[in-house]
């Protein structure tokens, strides 16, 4: 089971790379690097959080489970939003509208 989950995590990690690759490359190199760093960080925090929450809930550590949901998944969501914004999945349309208005 553990081996399969590691395998699945690897597949998801690579799938994520393929998914964001077309949008990760930016005009400035540091922005490209930032995108990849954020992706790795987001994946690590999300994976760690899921594992932590699963193990703690299966044993019955109630406070640890609820704290971890708040902490890890909260961080995961915040990072995901930031990353999605950098990659242009969200917020792009409004920028275009603003540009149109200025024009």
């Amino acid at each position: 089971m553990g081996t399969f989950l590691v395998f699945l995590a690897g597949i998801l990690f690579l799938g994520g790379i393929i998914f964001i690759k077309p949008r990760a490359k930016q005009d400035l190199k540091w922005k490209t690097i930032l995108n990849w760093v954020l992706y790795v960080l987001w994946f690590a925090i999300t994976g760690t959080g899921i594992s932590f929450i699963y193990i703690n809930s299966s044993v019955g550590h109630v406070k640890a489970t609820s704290t971890a949901i708040f902490l890890f998944l909260g961080l995961s969501i915040v990072l995901a939003i930031v990353l999605a914004r950098f990659l242009g999945f969200i917020g792009k349309k409004r920028n275009q509208q603003n540009t149109n208005l200025e024009a």
């Binding site: 081996t3 690759k21 704290t67």
Partner: protein
């Protein structure tokens, strides 16, 4: 010869399109998955890997070749006239009378009358029927002929000390020990006298005390877990508390008695020391055998994996053995900043002091054993107490990657110990009761001994 197409390729550089990238990714993932899934080395290779992994001194067991220290970062330290592991010896450690230890002091009436009554015939344990059932079995191991005796007149041929140590460790694991270690026996750990009967102690009459004359060079220490799930469900001082102790006391006693009997059968001297018949105090033996460090409680040791959640029995012997070295996993630094046991001790017996004090020729924390004993033998909410065991960050949880990482961090000095304690508190470990594991029955009407008629 260089072909033009090669030249062109080298000029263009290696380009990876999405299809190639996908293929490479899937291939890498499959390879990693297959390596993980196989996870089975040829038997000889697995043996070689096992025998090289993990720190250890002394002889390696065949059944448990890798000593499980959890995530703790363990180093090996000295056992000489200045140090017993990480405990600093600053003077002469005077051996003492068994009747001067906490429970017997209560028995002698040196504490309160209620405490005296609570200890007499182990009422504080016997008041819970399950604790009584286990303790009564442990009593059957009390007789002198169970723990000691003359060795066989003919010495059987045995292998060299290293192989013999390996064999003794394997014999202990075979008998269901969780951990076993071998140490040089510290002479000061022997009692000067064994306490007389409880009836004599009630009269504070020590005239029938038996002098302890045995001096044997080695000690085999056997450790058994007090059960994780039960501890997770317990308050730390409810009806199951004494039974948890008895679980490990009786089982280590069985292992020690059998081992001592076996060694005597080989023609060497051996004496078992266990819950109902000690000739020695246990914590120095645990430290000598590389199985723990002295903790903030002042008289209890912590194991790197099991924490306080254990009891031990021992066998002193002159069988030629190779001793293990004492261990250092940073517990002194950890206890200095943690004090979670002191925060949660229902009797307030465990000190909050930062620094160690000199006591009988060595340094330790200055906890109040009178308060601890009083609470355990008169506890009206349960049977005995193990709150320090329950809350200690070293043993308050199941085995998992993050607890392993946590104890590794905690064993790296005061700053990281402080971090581990804060994380432990933040996640609520050690102070919760997980109801789903509460399997035992409670009889609260029996917990106030003074109100009991029988």
């Amino acid at each position: 010869m260089f072909r033009s197409s090669d030249h062109e390729n080298s000029q263009k550089g290696f380009q990876m399109d999405r299809r190639k990238f996908l293929k490479a990714g899937v291939a890498s993932a499959l390879t990693a998955g297959m390596v993980g899934a196989m996870n089975v080395l040829p038997a000889e290779a697995a043996e070689a890997v096992k025998n090289t992994a993990g720190p250890q001194t002394g002889a390696k067991s065949k059944l448990h070749p890798v000593v499980d220290y959890g995530g703790s970062s363990v180093s090996f330290v000295e056992h000489n006239d200045q140090w017993l592991g990480t405990t600093k010896i600053v003077g002469t450690i005077k051996p003492y009378h068994e009747a001067d230890q906490g429970f017997y002091m209560a028995n002698r009436g040196k504490y309160s009358p209620e405490a005296q009554q609570g200890f007499y015939h182990y009422k504080f344990v016997m008041k819970h029927p399950f604790g009584a059932a286990i303790a009564q079995f442990a009593m059957s191991l009390m007789a002198p002929q169970m723990v000691s005796g003359q060795p066989s007149p003919q010495k059987l041929p045995i292998p060299d000390p290293e192989q013999m140590s390996q064999h003794i460790k394997d014999a202990a694991y075979f008998l269901r020990a969780d951990e076993v270690g071998i140490g040089k026996m510290p002479e000061y750990a022997y009692y000067t006298h064994k306490a007389p009967s409880q009836d004599d102690l009630m009269k504070d009459d020590l005239s029938k005390s038996i002098p302890v004359t045995e001096r044997l060079p080695y000690v085999i220490v056997v450790m058994i877990d007090q059960h994780l799930e039960t501890m997770l469900a317990s308050t730390g001082y409810d009806g199951i508390s004494a039974s948890q102790s008895m679980r490990s006391y009786h089982s280590t006693g069985v292992v020690a008695v059998i081992l001592a009997n076996y060694i005597r059968g080989l023609g060497y001297n051996a004496r078992a020391h266990h819950f109902t018949n000690y000739a020695s105090v246990m914590p120095p033996l645990i430290m000598a055998a590389g199985m723990g460090e002295l903790s903030r409680t002042g008289d209890c040791t912590v194991h790197p994996r099991l924490g306080f959640r254990h009891k031990v029995a021992a066998v002193t012997t002159d069988l030629p053995l190779v001793p293990d070295k004492p261990i250092d996993f940073g517990l002194l630094d950890f206890c200095r900043v943690c004090a979670k046991c002191a925060d949660n001790c229902p009797s307030g017996a465990i000190t909050h002091d930062r620094d160690l004090v000199e006591y009988n020729g060595y340094l330790r924390w200055n906890s109040d054993f009178k308060k601890c004993t009083e609470f355990r033998v008169t506890n009206k909410e349960g049977s005995s107490c193990g709150s320090c065991m329950k809350v200690c960050p070293w043993n308050s949880k199941e085995k998992s990657w993050f607890h392993t990482a946590g104890t590794w961090i905690g064993s790296k000095g005061e700053a990281s110990a402080s971090l581990l304690k804060k994380v432990d508190d933040m996640f609520g470990y050690g102070t919760e009761q997980i109801e789903r594991y509460k399997w035992w029955l409670e009889w609260p009407e029996r917990y106030d001994i003074t109100a009991l008629k029988h």
